[in-house]
Amino acid sequence: MDSYSTIRKIQEGLLHREYSCEELTKSYLDAIERDNQILNSYVTVTPQEAFSAAKRVDQKIAAGKPLSPLEGVPMTLKDNLSTNKIPTTCCSKILSGYTPIYDAAVWETLKAQNAILLGKTNMDEFAMGSTCETSCYGGAKNPHNLKRVPGGSSGGGASAVCANLAAYALGSDTGGSIRQPASFCGVVGLKPTYGAVSRYGLIAFASSFDQIGPIAGCAEDAALVFDAISSYDERDSTCSGRKGAPCAESLNQSIKGMKIGIPKEYYEGLRPGVQKALEDAQKTYQELGCKLIPLALPELQYALPVYYILACAEASSNLGRYDGIRYGYKTERYNDLNEMICKTRSEGFGAEVQRRILLGTYVLSSGYYDAYYKKAQILRGKIVDAFQSAFQKCDIILAPTVPVTALPQHYSSNAVDNYRTDICTVPVNIAGLPGISVPCGKDEDNMPVGMQLIGKKFGEATILRAAHQYEKAARDTVFCPVKMGVEK
């Protein structure tokens, strides 16, 4: 399957017997075998799982039974999503060999629909990073330019979809980890409203920020996947599930008259190519009959430090459990329990993870809690309120996903420099709102630019519709998979 097919087209092909599901699956697995050595998108490939699901789908088709919306479609899961009996490592040495004994809620749902799991994808270790380079398996590559990063932390998923090594991927987004790699790789990435998708089975980084979402080739595909994974799950106390009708049903409704907020703070310090692409996107929306509303969101200036304080605090607590006793890596030599635990963690966690654990421990520790954690919580409330006010003036917000395009590998050894690429995505996680990155052009180096549509709480249908209408209007920006190596 070299040319790009949407989920619907793939299913049409199956139903019209253009190919069997087994043939379809084999073609993806062959492509992975050919290209993954270069791209390093996949850290685990699961042909057995894939073929047994494909078999079930072929039986269903032969019996003339109708297919569920995602049935028979080859896909992948980020390696922080628990898969029963299939290794799940968060690309960290400390979880090497860990095989979950249960399925994540989203995987349970998709497995029941015979989604074809091709494998688990590469990511920054414990989702902490924006380049995929903190992975213990080495980073993935950006198919558009192998010397650039695919972004992070869902770098493997974005590069897989980009190179057509999967029809769609599930990633996770805590500070931009779905949207930013989607932007760098020129694909669509949706972070749902906090609480729309069950986190049960997602290995936690920052519990009040993490959300699972789709990375796909177009808005419609993202809508189909989101609709499937956003059912209420009682195991997650913070999950309410999607509100309202399935988003895929309302994509074609006109967006004429839609008010699109343009916050000026988001447009500062952009790379020229990014600036231009966003301006073009704004023009497209105006041509579609939308109204652009200038906004001010001064609260955004402190979003980044607020995010890092709160997310690292939660992470330092969530990662306390990795001590080698019940699962994962255990250090080889020790003389007492404390030494065993400290050595296991210091040898098992990478440098970035350890830095964030230390920061998180610092901001929660007695004497510092009020100045950092407590204050950051108050400021979080202010950012939530700021967006709420903004959404009284507009229906959605249009902003860049990242101020730059895909960075070169090993861009900066300075942690804070790396944090700054999250500046446009992080506020959306702080406020718990839905955000989608949509490719909207290329920059001077021919690298993809992503625009971000931010919606009201549980407003996925609105931003997906705005994305879909944009795709119809701006045909030249629509995703086209990047062909990798030559056929053997």
Binding site: I101, A313, E314, G320, R321, Y327
Partner: protein, 472 residues
Amino acid sequence: MSQYELVVGLETHVELATKTKIFCSCTTQFGGEPNTHCCPICIGLPGTLPKLNQKVVEYAIMAGLSTHCEIAEESKMDRKNYVYPDLPKAYQISQYDQPLCKNGYLDLSDGRRIRILRIHIEEDAGKLVHSRGNTYVDYNRGGVPLIEIVTEPDFRTVDEVREYVEKIQSIMRYIGISDCKMQEGSVRCDVNISTREKGAKNLGTRTEIKNMNSINFITKAVEYEFARQIDLLEAGKEVTQETRRYDETNDCTEGMRGKEDAQDYRYFRDPDLVTIHVPKEKIAELKALLPEPEEDKFHRYTEEYQISEADAKNLLRYRRCWQYFDQASEGIQNKKALASCILGQIFRRLESDSAKEAFEINVTPKHLHELIKLLDDGKIRMNLVKSTLEKMLDTGKPAADFLSEKDLAGISDEDLQRLCKEAIEKNPNAAKDYLGGKEKAIKALVGFVMKSTHGRADAQKAETTLVNLFKN
């Protein structure tokens, strides 16, 4: 020695008697092979999330209502972070600054009021067993729900400590939220002890003895520690704030080896759980579920039903027992007799404490009620009650199966006259003795009447009838 005052505060952990753990649906049943009552959530597997058991919140509120606490309208769960193998997530989900209940009290018999600062809910840790230098970890008890009851440092004597610990357990058992088996570890106390000169305003430095599960050891530890602290103060030394261990063998406390830095638990609100909102209607609903206060019931049993204090205490000791008694005795006049059936014959069949707690017998409250009703109505006598009850306990059948019409008919006055005359005729010696002044001799004649009626006659009435016969 008398110039010094003992000051004690207690933190009591009580295991709640819910069927499942606090954050997952694993059973809380005691025992079982290690790690057989576990699931991904209670062993803290990556990606799992907690979900709060509603019964835990309700039981905690009931504990608060029974100790005069204010119930918080809004409260939350917090993470208490520390690393130890018995804590799979490396944090305990507890409540830090917004507990479910606060500002309650318990009054003791010496007039002291012990203020209860707070009651909050939290999860228990697993069990560690140290053996051959290694540590074995079993998470069966991990996630069992606890309430922690914290008092102000209001205790001044060892007897007060003892009474409080007994009373708290009795209350929690009485309202049915815990079985309170201290020997099994379902109640544990952390004891804070300090000493100061009598009349001093400030508290002395306190030491802490953790995880005590025996009232005797608690009192011994307090006594020892008080004496030890006095010795230090008299010698002009200072008491070090520390956690100490009670050594059972030598009846003393000792400092724990290896100085541990004071733990920084880095409490913060657990982002995986949501606010607990307790509306007034819920509090009223739970209040209505509480049985009447134990003191009130005791009073009613002893004053109104004429049951002895000791018997009343025994009835109230076991929840299912007094529930059974209340049910069976409703509408019965002679509640004392019913109580004696329970405390005598029924208890004899329930030998162990746990048997009395389970109170599984095959005589339903209704059946016992029916039997004693016959006694109330004068249709049968106590000895027939007893023998019938034995048969009922043996077979599970109701009284009617064992009592014939004749049994229930009683003795008519005519028949009684005739039987008494017969008694006098057939016992001339006893009659002669009575007429001669030996009043007690009438008992033999009464006995004869009772025997010939198989106990159905009213002994009192028989005696009166005999006396009248002699008069004539």
